[in-house]
Symmetry: D3
Subunit: 255 residues, 6 copies
Amino acid sequence: MRPNERAVNQLRPVEIETGFIKHPEGSVLITVGETKVICNASVENRVPPFMRNKGKGWITAEYQMLPRATEQRTIRESSKGKVSGRTMEIQRLIGRSLRAVVDLDKLGERTVWVDCDVIQADGGTRTASITGAFVAVVIALGKLVDDGVLDQLPITDYLAATSVGVSQDGTSLLDLEYIEDSEAAVDMNVIMTGRGEFVEVQGTGEEATFTRKELNELLDLAEAGMIELFDYQADAIGVYKDMITNQNVEGKDSE
Amino acid sequence: MRPNERAVNQLRPVEIETGFIKHPEGSVLITVGETKVICNASVENRVPPFMRNKGKGWITAEYQMLPRATEQRTIRESSKGKVSGRTMEIQRLIGRSLRAVVDLDKLGERTVWVDCDVIQADGGTRTASITGAFVAVVIALGKLVDDGVLDQLPITDYLAATSVGVSQDGTSLLDLEYIEDSEAAVDMNVIMTGRGEFVEVQGTGEEATFTRKELNELLDLAEAGMIELFDYQADAIGVYKDMITNQNVEGKDSE
Amino acid sequence: MRPNERAVNQLRPVEIETGFIKHPEGSVLITVGETKVICNASVENRVPPFMRNKGKGWITAEYQMLPRATEQRTIRESSKGKVSGRTMEIQRLIGRSLRAVVDLDKLGERTVWVDCDVIQADGGTRTASITGAFVAVVIALGKLVDDGVLDQLPITDYLAATSVGVSQDGTSLLDLEYIEDSEAAVDMNVIMTGRGEFVEVQGTGEEATFTRKELNELLDLAEAGMIELFDYQADAIGVYKDMITNQNVEGKDSE
Amino acid sequence: MRPNERAVNQLRPVEIETGFIKHPEGSVLITVGETKVICNASVENRVPPFMRNKGKGWITAEYQMLPRATEQRTIRESSKGKVSGRTMEIQRLIGRSLRAVVDLDKLGERTVWVDCDVIQADGGTRTASITGAFVAVVIALGKLVDDGVLDQLPITDYLAATSVGVSQDGTSLLDLEYIEDSEAAVDMNVIMTGRGEFVEVQGTGEEATFTRKELNELLDLAEAGMIELFDYQADAIGVYKDMITNQNVEGKDSE
Amino acid sequence: MRPNERAVNQLRPVEIETGFIKHPEGSVLITVGETKVICNASVENRVPPFMRNKGKGWITAEYQMLPRATEQRTIRESSKGKVSGRTMEIQRLIGRSLRAVVDLDKLGERTVWVDCDVIQADGGTRTASITGAFVAVVIALGKLVDDGVLDQLPITDYLAATSVGVSQDGTSLLDLEYIEDSEAAVDMNVIMTGRGEFVEVQGTGEEATFTRKELNELLDLAEAGMIELFDYQADAIGVYKDMITNQNVEGKDSE
Amino acid sequence: MRPNERAVNQLRPVEIETGFIKHPEGSVLITVGETKVICNASVENRVPPFMRNKGKGWITAEYQMLPRATEQRTIRESSKGKVSGRTMEIQRLIGRSLRAVVDLDKLGERTVWVDCDVIQADGGTRTASITGAFVAVVIALGKLVDDGVLDQLPITDYLAATSVGVSQDGTSLLDLEYIEDSEAAVDMNVIMTGRGEFVEVQGTGEEATFTRKELNELLDLAEAGMIELFDYQADAIGVYKDMITNQNVEGKDSE
């Protein structure tokens, strides 16, 4: 029924390639089905003005699609001279989510810039960005631990994201690809931590609504998908895996 | 415990004044506690380019705070020359939510512009905007029915919004005012229809997370608050109340 | 002959409501006929770069119309990404006029921000803004005197504004409403102090001209209208009335 | 007392060089004392959208100072990415003034673009721009008559502008140069037609006020200066002088 | 002497991967040493306004670096709200160069958009962009031939680019990497066709100059490098190789 | 054959008028045929942020065309709110070229702003700008020497620029005017120093290419034209002529 005979509760194939670009402190190419996002984490030794002199760090994100990441070429935001509302929403979401699992006090007066550049889009670009960005941030901060700049990895838990939705015929689906997403009645992005708590739940019916029962089904699907995503992340993080503060990661136990 | 001895499941006082500004087709001043928003609905006899020649209408919203709506003066977005990410998120949310209860086919090739201008802010400005905007839109479209331009009010159901949240001590609260909102661990905006379905659920933990159990408590509080909000809206709508397509509005039955 | 049988030398009804918005130091809703403007004065404890280290203060103004303040919806300047020439002219005029009656030396290194937001427009929005803004500034600075921050109210005189014009049939009129203004051959804005001196005279013939005799008739009308406006202001200012330096206000003597 | 022993009612030397730049339909370099402005008039065979299908023409103006027109280099507005409020005020003023003496119906569906570029500034740049722009427009439209495109020169009268002001010691002065203007208590720009009527009067006291008596003295000075300016214009216009509709130009009679 | 013991007349290793992104009509990842650029060619069935109704096509290019393509993170141009002068220069150069080998008449009323996104930068990003873009354009247009949309590949010759320069010690070098480029006395970009003609020569001495003799040495080096680049391109183009109009490509003869 | 019977290797008449505008430290009106550019050099006693605390100076340039410098009026870049790619390219080129002959160490922590405003365009505006700007800079810096601010003129050599090109019939031409430039197959800008070295060579074939032989012919023409340009400059510089460090200027010897 779904493209590629995928089950309703089945994620698309996920790959997380680390060290993708040479300059950034952490660099990841995440592939979720046909969606591909370069997630680069850069560490800067200062914080934005509103965070100064608090002894705390900051994490901020920027998101962008290449013009031909999409089926039809989209106009470059730098050419238009302004960032769209959609882009702003997504980059605010990525930054806010990452801040939920980074101990900004332990980070010290540093800014982590996360750049998520979608080179190929097939649905779920914002959730793939978050899942990949988490890995890039762990690697970038892990290097600061390796270099003795930080005593401890200031990461309190895993963080991953996926989309779930309800199709026009009422079926709840995990990890929508573009063709499914564009026709869905309800679309929900769920961002969770390794210990199974929510960081963000954004459910939207465009010209449609959803019941409490549907909401619960969608959250069940998302929770199941997360367990797999944490596994992919743990493999990519490698040596830094044991430095994450909270080890009660569901789905990590089996490793 | 809460300011003004409010119960955890108690809305702030709500007033919806109609006919507030003389020019717009629908004009409302909504007051929720100390939050005051002017919601004006304007009807234009054409649609944006991407909607042309579909025989359907469109609803779009703009949101803005006056510089001194807030405790500290904020810089005017027109002076900065760009709209902030926060403003874009909110105006996209308002437009999307309204589209869930307006029958765009029945609206015909018309655009409804909704302008939500916050003149005084004390938390919950986006949810007050939605609750007030719904009334402004019903009045604007009701006049088109009165004038014989439309056969039928193209509104399928009531629509209201409220915020819920979890305080630092773990208490779930309905309708947060600014002092509560700024200290909350979790903040959630819930937008529902008269028949009790969700249009949008946006739960966010800024540097915090929330459990499935907390999510459920918050949704329970929101659902209870909605019933009251629909009553306030029904009173404000007056003569157009019976023209809303779906009459199974919870909490409306008792009227 | 004029709408509502108004005499050529008769102002529209004026109301000045103080304390309109809770956050600003001075907040006024001024109503002149059907024109309604929220005038908020905010005090900031620093001055713009070009005024630094002079021991003097500064007053600056911003002006804006809500999109549906007008009969037809106008595009929001924040959406267009730039402020129109008309808006710039008006906000420069408001700031310049207020500076004529504020003793910037006595104000000290503070900035008074005046925000004039037109929520309903029916002609004379810039002059209503000035008349209302004066009251908002007096209240904001009066509070600084109350709080012992300033020894003395740094206001040297009353300040009010009105429009006058010549209709197509050659009649000189006081306080034009929109329908009159849009058809006038000559339009003049006059800003005066309580002692009867001019701060600004701006007379304009759009595709028309005016004689010295007409100019004099218009100034006579404006001077007569001012006396009433100062009375409305004096009532609104209340307790701060006696703190204004110059007490030889024409038309105030009779109180 | 005044620089160069100028009398209070004496204009600075004026030169109007025509045919200054080869491409524009009308091109003038006007010199008023040390102020030099290039005024180019361009005719375009269409009107802006808001004027379409009315059978009428339009005149619009743009004004700009070269960065080193001034004593200190000013930042180029194209580099800042926006036009200042001052520039907008001036270009609106120039366009509005010219429209008072051009018969837009006779002009037909054409736009006259007037570009006033100040290459050297020493006070009175906006009034010099208007005085020079009038000549450029007459020449540009005169050529349309020469070419048989127009039957008649659609100019109803002469148009010139000058500044007047009150110095700190209370003296009324004609045609202020920069050093005088920057210290003046009152500054007034007066724009008049050949038959002695006002097109625009803009009197401003920056942190100062002026009496009705001072206003009258300033207007007397301006009227006297105009007569000379019309003479300079008449010489520059040359062959087109007799095509101006209204021949009752004061000060022209003697020619 | 050069990094990696490269000879002065030796190119860095070049790889041209085709079909890199799935959506674009032509998509290439070009790698020149450590410089990596995604070059996507998109075909649109219309031309920009200035080219309409001429029966000809158009090619335009956009260029961008990801923020962490560089050693230090650079600010995203979409966030700054404007495209830098450097970016504009480069994208104009890419478009202009490609137009030299595309027969715009045979292309018909179509626009080819070329997007060059630098994901990793190590010198020579503009020349790698041109070399890669040529391949992407050939593939995109080749598909139009395959699909019968075009009769013939509207490509008249090969096109490649490389940089050459003079080091501080006076040595002429082919294909500078970043460390060499940043210290070079003279930097030159050379763009050539398969038949050995120049499309563009841009030699620049930043705070330095170069003699005619040095210019000739640099051109000799560039010409030698081109022959290799055309070979890489021929391999990548594959089936479309024989469709290029001009077969007298130097260095191609041997294939 | 060429307009005005000019020989292929003949420059148009050149005039360099110094002291054109009174405020700038160096001000030149350069006329090359019908092309006229005002070149003003301003000295500021500080450097841009990226040059601070290096003990060195900086030179930067801005270029602009008046709207009617051209046959058809072009839209003002300040009105569009952004500088075009063409303008950016040119102003970067002017600044870079001047830096090749200014000893930035000897200049000290000062910025020289060069403003090139084209008041009439007939081809070769960028090269005329450079030739004129060199004179303006020498005069501005010469005054610093006169005033004892600098010990020595920090100019190492003459600098001039011209354009050369190949016409459609294959003739190489020196100093193209607009009608020639717009039809040329190849266009090249050459910037050279007094001792005969290149600062910049930019050869471009728009939809065309050029051979090595043509390149050499063009450079020969340019070199010949330079010798004349240096003579014009030497005359304009006057007293500062002997202060230029390098006196081996070709073509200067004969003076």
